[in-house]
Amino acid sequence: MSNAQIQTLTDRVTTLAFDQHVLKAGFFGEQPFFVLADGAIHLGREKPALRPHDDAILVVAADQSRVVTGGDDGKVIETQPDGTTHILGDEKGRWIDAVTLGPDGSVAWSVGKTVRARDGKGKIRDLTVPSTPQGLGFAPKGYRLAIAHIDGATAWFPNMDAAPEKFDWKGPHLDITFSPDNRFLVTSMQENQLHGWRLSDKGHMRMSGYPGKTRSFAWSYDGLWLATSGAEAAIVWPFAKDGPTGKAPRECGIRPARVSQVAFHPKALVLAIGYEDGWVILVRFTDAAELLVRAGGDGTPITALAWDKDGKRLAFGSESGGGGLLTLPV
């Protein structure tokens, strides 16, 4: 990518400053929110930040109607768009390791080897896994939770008595995601690769070649592409038909800095890419056009990146607390 070819959208970005590591950005309708590692949740710029936890926020998950945070106070707290908060769980000061959101108001979190799933009615079920989970993810359909841990993954229907299903692959698994069509389960691994299973027959897929760990996934709106961080380009795997086995991934936004965050546009094949040097660009799949959103800022990694529901605005935040809001030209 050379600067001469790139179109820029930087004049459509409102710059924000938070001064603390941004864990997550997102939108409640029109209203952007930012969750910071020091414990602050910013809901709209005019209001003072909320601090639902005693201290730091460790993990966060969000959808269109709620932000759920796990703190180093051991609490799992839901914050709603109007700022009301509810304590969903209290693990007595133990660090919350992972949190994820599911359908119908469900949520799951883990603390040590214990995974708790809370359905929309508030019923909590527990599962103990052999090693501390690193990542959790709900299936797109049904109340089913996938848990990434050492030597594989476990898929669990919290409201059914059936034994959880095991997906074995040696090594430590980090984050986990179901494909939107519910046919594949994909994890990132400590050893700089992805692993995948076909749910129908547990067939394996190994996606390797990353120079760093993948810590950000994004599925395209049509569910056919999985974009990933961890290389000097966003690595985007094709999941049409039988998945990526035997196919080469697309490499989008090749730059001399590693990709730290990816976010697919909710309605078009446009990928937002955040880099470790603070750059943010958009790549349009149809013509591979690249659009500059942020040329580095303070040079620290992009740690949060999210589109609004309609794909008109993009929010981002960085490790040192830089942030911004892009509004696309109509």
Binding site: D19, Q20, H21, L23, A37, D38, A56, L58, D72, R94, W95, D97, G112, K113, S131, T132, Q134, I150, K170, G171, P172, M189, Q190, E191, G212, K213, E319, S320, G321
Partner: protein, 374 residues
């Protein structure tokens, strides 16, 4: 001649980032049960140093620690899937450090307290294997607290205690008030029989100046010499490791050596000269240059094959036609090496390596290293 292209230290070595500036220092506290780790920890935390520490303790231990930021860890060790059979790391530590690093300005350093039964290697390796950890934090030193009264017994019945001594950069020989001077000399000699290179402090209630345990830079290649000024001194009497210190039964027929050298030695200073049955140190020096084209393949191959039994390794080498000194250090199979400052004009070009390990074949190591002579 520079280090030849392609001869990086090993395939298991992560990219070395030479500038540790700005990285948070991490001190690892080990020690067998009851030796006084918590006493040392509380001493560190209560001194008026103006520094803020994040303390990672094992969640099963007794937590009597008064500190702003204490994190319970479950010491979950896993094996890296990288073809390196002894490359184990602490998964929980990766996660905790990643989270701690998001707290800007909240602390200046991290102290990791391990359980009494812990092997220090996975903790240390975590700082060399995980790139995210390596980018943000650096291992400062492994500090082992040993109980002067009970250590000798533990060295006999607890392999963990021996590992902790072997692995240490700094050893606090604590509770010296509970033993006689003769007993103290005895236990000190036992320690030196396992690890002659660590800095040793004799303490009561872990009373040491903080700079004796913190800010050591023991894993910093540039500081290996500062810490061990005697490192390059010729000292070749410690390479015969066929002397046992076990209690001999009547049927025992091996030659018994009293082996109480009285020569002045930098570390041992008149101590009885013990050789531990299983863990030894081997130091080999060559009065001159070594050929990097021979040395690099040899050391890489050595740690690949013998990594599980080599606990720590260090070396300072004069490479053929290279004006700078090559310095390396390693933990099991993981090696970290780089060219450091120039050899001074009045400095003798000597190549020296040391190993601390389990059942090392000293003669094979010696022959292998000397075959790399230029």
């Amino acid at each position: 001649m520079a280090v030849p292209e392609g001869l990086t230290m090993t395939a298991t070595t992560p990219a070395h980032t030479p500038a540790p500036a700005g990285k948070i220092p991490v001190t690892v506290l080990t020690g067998y049960l009851g030796a006084g780790k918590t006493t040392l920890l509380n001493r560190i935390l209560s001194e008026p140093h103006g520094k803020k520490y994040a303390v990672i303790v094992n969640e099963f231990g007794e937590i009597g620690i008064d500190n702003d930021l204490v994190v319970g860890a479950d010491e979950e060790i896993f094996e890296m899937n990288n073809g390196c059979i002894c490359c184990t790391v602490r998964g929980d530590l990766i996660r905790i450090i990643e989270n701690l690093m998001k707290r800007k300005g909240r602390f200046d350093a991290i102290i990791v307290e391990t359980t009494g039964l812990a092997d220090p290697a996975p903790v240390a390796q975590t700082f060399f294997v995980d790139q995210d950890v390596q980018d943000k934090a650096r291992l400062d030193a492994v500090v082992t607290v040993a109980d002067a009264k009970w250590l000798a017994a533990r060295l006999k019945d607890a392999p963990e205690a021996k590992n902790q001594i072997a692995f240490a950069d700094v050893i606090l020989l604590n509770k010296t008030d509970l033993v006689t001077p003769a007993e103290l000399r005895e236990v000190e000699a036992r320690i030196r029989g396992i690890n002659p290179y660590a800095t040793l402090h004799k303490t009561q209630k872990c009373a040491v100046p903080l700079d004796a345990v913190l800010g050591r830079g023991a894993f910093d290649l540039e500081r290996i010499l500062e810490i061990e000024p005697a490192f390059l001194e010729k000292d070749d009497h410690d390479h015969h490791h066929d002397h046992d210190d076990h209690e001999c039964g009547p049927g025992c027929s091996h030659g018994h050596h009293d082996h109480s050298h009285d020569h002045a030695h930098h570390h041992h200073g008149g101590l009885k000269h013990y050789h531990d049955e299983h863990i030894q140190s081997v130091s080999i020096s060559h009065d001159g240059d070594v050929d990097p084209e021979k040395f690099m393949p040899w050391i890489n191959d050595l740690v690949q094959k013998e990594g599980p039994s080599i606990l720590r390794s260090k070396g300072i080498l004069a490479f053929l036609k290279e004006p700078k000194r090559f310095v390396f250090q390693g933990v099991h199979m993981i090696l970290d090496g780089d060219l450091q400052r120039d050899w001074k004009n009045d400095e003798k070009r000597v190549s020296r390596i040391v190993f601390i390990g389990r059942d090392l074949d000293a003669e094979a190591l010696r022959a292998g290293f000397l075959a790399c002579a230029a």
